[in-house]
Subunit: 212 residues, 2 copies
């Protein structure tokens, strides 16, 4: 498998975590988003969307959208499970993942921040306030969900799809100096995850294309 | 089951379509987003997130996040299937759904538009340009995916999770006068869906809380 991705892309980071948790080897193909490599013909020939992550399977098929990729990996390589055996547990794990993937991250990714700055002429301070607003709102929802059913990880005593989404979001939040106080369960889950070698190996600073 | 939702919420509309496709009866509970009812204690007592749709099951459990709800319905009421039997098909259907649910809709929902207007002081014209920009970008990706594997519906010859997400997005795009030219496959899928009674029954104008 080849994973087209970028060290700082949090959607890429989600997939790297899933691959590491499952112990699946993959070829790392860097697509430098800040340099616009996702818009170059070499990459758009692979995926019209021009988005990372893109997972190319050994048979040449290409999968897009990080949550869909992780569910595919989970179905085709079931151990360790990143979703659960029961429908109610899966619904909760997916809903947690989607708090990050549908409520926080889409508002804060690079192309959106660029639109704010270049098209809407939003200044740095207002851009950072926007970023922090959506992070905070989403993580408060996440915290409330965790408080209702506390566990070591986001759901239960092993990492799931939800943790694959949460951890990269916390990395981003820290990078943008977001207020992470008052989120004790969320931060405890984050710390539990970061004790695991899979999360360590997947993090931006462990990537071949990492830039400080 | 009780579906807490709002006629104009496109995430609510997704779940209504799934319920109708599966022929599942539900109690319609209106939450008037424009009047802020999602922030009232009656609703936040049910879900800290204060987001619709919220599906309350007969045993009292409450499910959030539209895609997670639809997958739950599909797992617990398998016929007709809204995802497919094969992992590759499911990955494609989920990726299509996520183009809408992660790339378009989060940028254009009511609370984001309110932030643009009230916090960033964005004018009407720039707000509409923002809306149309993300719709267009996402639907062009959707069109490219459909062109690579054409069918009557988004994937294959029956509606799936992807169509549950696409159709409400097209309704929104039309309401905001987005340019839908040059998207022949996407619009043909939309029209095929709207010929089905389930999509007709789920649409905003068929909802008890509809306002013209």
């Amino acid at each position: 498998m080849k994973l087209y991705n970028y060290f700082r892309s949090s959607a890429s980071f989600r997939v790297r975590i899933a691959l590491e948790l499952k112990g699946l080897a993959y070829e790392y193909r860097a697509v430098h988003l800040a340099k616009g490599e996702q818009k170059q013909p070499e990459f758009t020939a692979l995926t019209a969307e021009g988005l990372v992550p893109l997972l190319e399977l050994d048979d040449g098929r290409r999968l897009t959208q990080s949550m869909a990729i992780i569910e595919y990996l989970d179905e085709t390589h079931p151990q360790p499970a990143l979703l659960l055996a029961d429908a109610a547990g899966r619904a909760r794990v997916r809903a947690l993942a989607q708090i990050v993937a549908c409520e926080i991250h889409p508002l804060n990714n690079l192309r959106v921040l660029k639109y704010l700055v270049h098209e809407l002429k939003v200044g740095d301070e207002a851009k950072n306030a926007w970023y922090r607003h959506w992070v905070r709102l989403g993580l408060e929802s996440y915290e409330a969900q965790l408080a209702a059913q506390p566990a070591t990880y986001s759901h239960g005593d092993a990492p799931t799809l939800a943790d694959c989404c949460l951890v990269p979001q916390i990395f981003n939040a820290q990078r943008f100096d977001c207020d992470l106080s008052g989120l004790p369960r969320t931060m405890a889950v984050f710390e539990a995850c970061m004790k695991l070698p899979a999360f360590q190996r997947a993090q931006p600073s462990a990537c071949p294309d990492f830039e400080a």
